[in-house]
């Protein structure tokens, strides 16, 4: 069987894209519906318990909360598509600006975490694969088991205990802001990124190992060895490139998840990130913020899944294109 022609590939992309759009519509509907039934009246929360019924009704009308479900939904989606931002009830500023400022924390945090993860996982995975079933391999596997079992927020707390409380090398939390103190900001992200990264390194190291083992069984590796290439060249030039494909896939998926999944670690380190924004917004019933952020996070996950599907189809012709 030859490589897939252009037409089936295009068809595949179109089908996947249609699925993506459908999923996004379903996701947005679900998000909206869930928040629609969220108990706690935003108007009541804004005005407090002593508000008069008239002022409550006025604010509800002002916020558009008294209109039917689908009108509100259409309004929300329409505005999003036109790039018009809603106002946050609590912060009194456009949600887009709010999200952008928080992404400036969570984005670098997620990237840094993945950097740590790869820096640990790939060498460890290769090392374990090269020493398969020997004590070195068992040691790496034991490390990954412990990593998988450790709650990242506990690791975060332990890091604070060691590096902030005992050694005083880092602040115990908080974020100075990129504009005010770029270096201090980067430093504030190091411990949380390490906590997130090292846990993910456990998963990635196992994956690198098993993927490497699979590749090392391939014929072309045997050929490379038979040609008399040095083991180093075989591993790092011939095997690694192919072994990393599944690793990169999972890395992509994890990055999407991390944008949303950093909520707990942001709470441990008091970082003003996207996760903490939505966490506090849920508590304050700041629905415009919750809606947009939840949709953004879900869209990120769905979109990354879409990209991964495409990348897989492009790389691996065995994936069925229909």
């Amino acid at each position: 069987m030859g490589p897939p022609g252009l037409f089936p590939m295009l068809r595949y992309v179109l089908i996947k894209f249609a699925t993506l759009v459908l999923l996004l519509i379903l996701v947005s509907l679900t998000v909206f519906a869930v928040l629609f039934v969220l108990p706690g009246d935003p108007a009541q929360i804004i005005l407090g318990i002593h508000a008069t019924p008239e002022s409550l009704a006025r604010l509800r009308a002002e916020l558009g909360l008294d209109r039917p479900f689908f009108t509100q939904y259409a309004d929300w989606v329409g505005n999003l598509l036109l790039g018009r931002s809603a106002l946050s009830i609590h912060y009194k500023m456009p949600v887009f600006e709010l999200v952008a400022s928080r992404l400036a924390v969570t984005g670098p945090l997620a990237l840094l975490a993945m950097l740590f993860a790869v820096a640990f996982a790939v060498p460890l995975g290769i090392y374990a694969a090269r020493h398969q079933n020997r004590p070195q391999d068992l040691a790496v596997m034991a490390f990954t088991q412990v990593g998988l079992a450790t709650p990242e927020f506990w690791l975060g707390i332990l890091l604070v205990l060691l590096f902030s409380v005992e050694l005083n090398w880092f602040a115990a939390g908080g974020f100075p802001g990129w504009a005010a103190d770029p270096l201090g900001s980067l430093k504030a992200l190091l411990l949380p990124a390490f906590a997130l990264g090292i846990i993910r390194a456990a998963i990635l190291a196992r994956l690198t190992r098993s993927s490497m083992l699979d590749v090392l069984r391939e014929d072309y590796i045997r050929t490379a060895r038979a040609k008399g290439l040095r083991e180093r060249t075989v591993i790092y030039v011939h095997a690694l490139r192919n072994a990393l494909i599944p690793v990169l896939t999972i890395l992509g998926l994890q990055l999407g998840q991390l944008l949303a999944g950093a909520i707990i670690i942001e709470n441990v380190f008091f970082l003003p990130g996207l996760g903490r924004l939505v966490f506090t917004a849920i508590g304050m019933r700041d629905l415009p913020v919750v809606r947009d952020v939840v949709l953004l996070m879900a869209a990120a996950v769905v979109f990354v899944n879409f990209l991964v599907d495409l990348a897989y189809a492009a790389v691996d012709p065995r994936i069925e294109l229909h």
Binding site: L23, A149, W154, S210, G261
Partner: protein
């Protein structure tokens, strides 16, 4: 049984998780102190003979609270996996044998659920239903439905192609009876393996929710909640932050290893691919 204990993962996992289960069972009958008993005179004490793991800000005995917290974690694991199994297996079987429309609908629904970031959605759900242990279990359990549905569908389809199914059909047994008598017993081991691993994931997830204040509510002991409280006293009473975390890691490690061991023994093909 020998076959299981020859596997290192299984043996280690069995021992670790047995300790958790025994601790939980024992705590129902006896703990060194009442886990909720406060004592103003014994606040924030370090580990000692009287309180081997120290006390917290209310003078409650940490060891007793960790033992009581084990009950909590095991309950969460059991209930969430039960939710996932009950609904997931039913939906998975429906997707596998219920025709193309049912299959499409169920699998897209699973895609939809997988699209939502788990932690965030769990937070949303507990905010809607109100923070409590039961609601935390629901929030986690919902995500297990697609996990088990996909697994059931995949395995059930493979089983359906097997010759003994064809034989059963040829002998005139009804479809439902075939599913009950021949399919379910054959998909039991993958479900058991996955269930054990999801059990461990649930313990982690509940700890996270409780850390955020959305899971088990005070004064009930939960490992995640204890870590949250410990963070306030990090500079004066660091041990408060150590032991509950160790308990979580211990339990999760135990059930993970148990799951891996079960897979090694029951499903050697999967174990090799992994």
């Amino acid at each position: 049984m020998r076959r299981f204990f020859q596997n290192k993962n299984f043996t280690a996992g069995f021992v670790l998780s047995a300790v958790v289960v025994l601790a939980a069972a024992a705590s129902l009958l006896w703990t060194p102190y009442d886990p909720n008993r406060m004592s103003a005179l014994e606040r924030l004490e370090g580990p000692s003979l009287r309180h081997p793991l120290g006390t917290d800000q209310y003078g409650r005995d940490t060891l007793s609270r960790i033992l009581a917290g084990a009950v909590n974690s095991i309950l969460v694991g059991l209930v969430t996996v039960a939710i996932g199994l009950l609904l997931g297996v039913a939906l998975g079987l429906l997707a596998a044998y219920g025709g193309k429309a049912a299959d499409e609908a169920i699998m897209r629904l699973a895609d939809l659920l997988f699209g939502f970031p788990a932690v965030l959605t769990a937070i949303l759900i507990t905010s809607i239903l109100g923070p409590s242990m039961v609601n935390a279990m629901l929030a986690i359990g919902i995500f297990y439905i697609p996990v088990f549905a996909r697994l059931t569908r995949a395995v059930a389809r493979v089983v359906w192609e097997k010759e003994f199914i064809a034989a059963a059909r040829a002998s005139g047994i009804g479809e439902l009876a075939i599913v009950r008598r021949h399919v379910l017993p054959n998909i039991l081991s993958p479900l058991l393996i996955q269930g054990t691993i999801q059990f461990a994931v649930a313990i982690l997830a509940e700890a996270g929710l409780s850390y955020l204040g959305l899971g088990t509510q005070p004064p009930h002991a939960s490992w995640g909640r204890m870590l949250n409280e410990a963070q306030t006293f990090l500079d004066t009473s660091p041990w408060m932050a150590v032991f509950p975390g160790l308990a979580i890691a211990w339990a999760v490690l135990g059930f993970n290893l148990l799951g891996d061991g079960l897979r090694d023994v029951l499903d050697p093909k999967m174990a090799r691919i992994r």
